[in-house]
């Protein structure tokens, strides 16, 4: 059973290995001659202004949240799409289609609401 995932596991392992090897080799064999200029955040010569971590405007949050909620909606599509044809062949297609339509229509209400509220606008 687990062997089915062996390919993915191998891929993840090998990718990680390559990345680690590259970094380790660089650290081991790369020449290290740091100077003040080189250790600045921007080597191109810009002096950094202010702290490195800055607060992001709140309007990003709204966009992110709306994305997440619709993302969850999509997660429900996956199993639905997986079995829709089987339901059609059992002549239950209409029922399952109506089921998903209701789901989408309810979320569509949210979409219209968000639209009218200007939540999708970038001021």
């Amino acid at each position: 059973m687990l062997l089915e995932y062996a390919a993915i596991a191998t891929m993840i392992f090998v990718t990680a290995l390559v990345a680690v090897i590259a970094i380790v080799l660089g650290v081991l064999f790369g020449p290290k001659r740091p100077t003040d200029k080189k250790s600045m955040p921007y080597e191109s010569g810009m002096n950094p202004i202010g702290p490195g971590t800055r607060r992001v405007p709140v309007r990003f949050y709204l966009i992110a949240v709306l994305f997440i909620l619709f993302d969850i909606e999509v997660v429900f599509f996956v199993p639905w799409a997986l079995v829709f044809k089987q339901f059609v062949s059992q002549s239950q297609g209409f029922f399952v289609f109506a089921e998903m339509t209701t789901f989408i229509v309810i979320l569509l209400v949210g979409y219209i609401y968000a639209w009218k509220k200007g939540a999708l606008e970038w001021e």
Binding site: V58, Y61, V65, I68, L69, D71, I72, V75, F76
Partner: protein, 100 residues
């Protein structure tokens, strides 16, 4: 095969850790993350039991818990952002404008 009690033990420890986090941390974000850990522990139990009884009920339950958790997170983080805007802090010890 691994006995189900192994998974249950792991889930119980994770749940306790999460609960512990809720009780000892004062940072609202970390408290919330601890709550997510508690839900995650419950999910692990559900999937393990689902495997034990060979039924999909547990798995589907977990699926719904995830969707519900996402909805909860959306509102919860909005609350945290809102309160941060007026107080510049999300430290629960500083939430003391309410006292008898």
């Amino acid at each position: 095969m691994i006995p189900v009690s192994y998974y249950l033990a792991l889930s119980a420890i994770l749940f306790t850790t999460g609960m512990f986090g809720v009780l000892i941390r004062r940072n609202a974000l970390v408290v919330f993350m601890s709550i997510e850990l508690m839900l995650n522990a419950a999910n692990l139990s559900l999937v393990a039991f689902s495997r034990l009884y060979q039924t999909f009920h547990g798995q589907i339950f977990v699926f719904f818990i995830m969707a519900v958790a996402a909805a909860e997170v959306a509102v919860g983080l909005a609350l945290i952002v809102t309160i941060f805007r007026s107080k510049q802090s999300i430290d629960l010890d500083q939430m003391n404008s309410l006292k008898g």
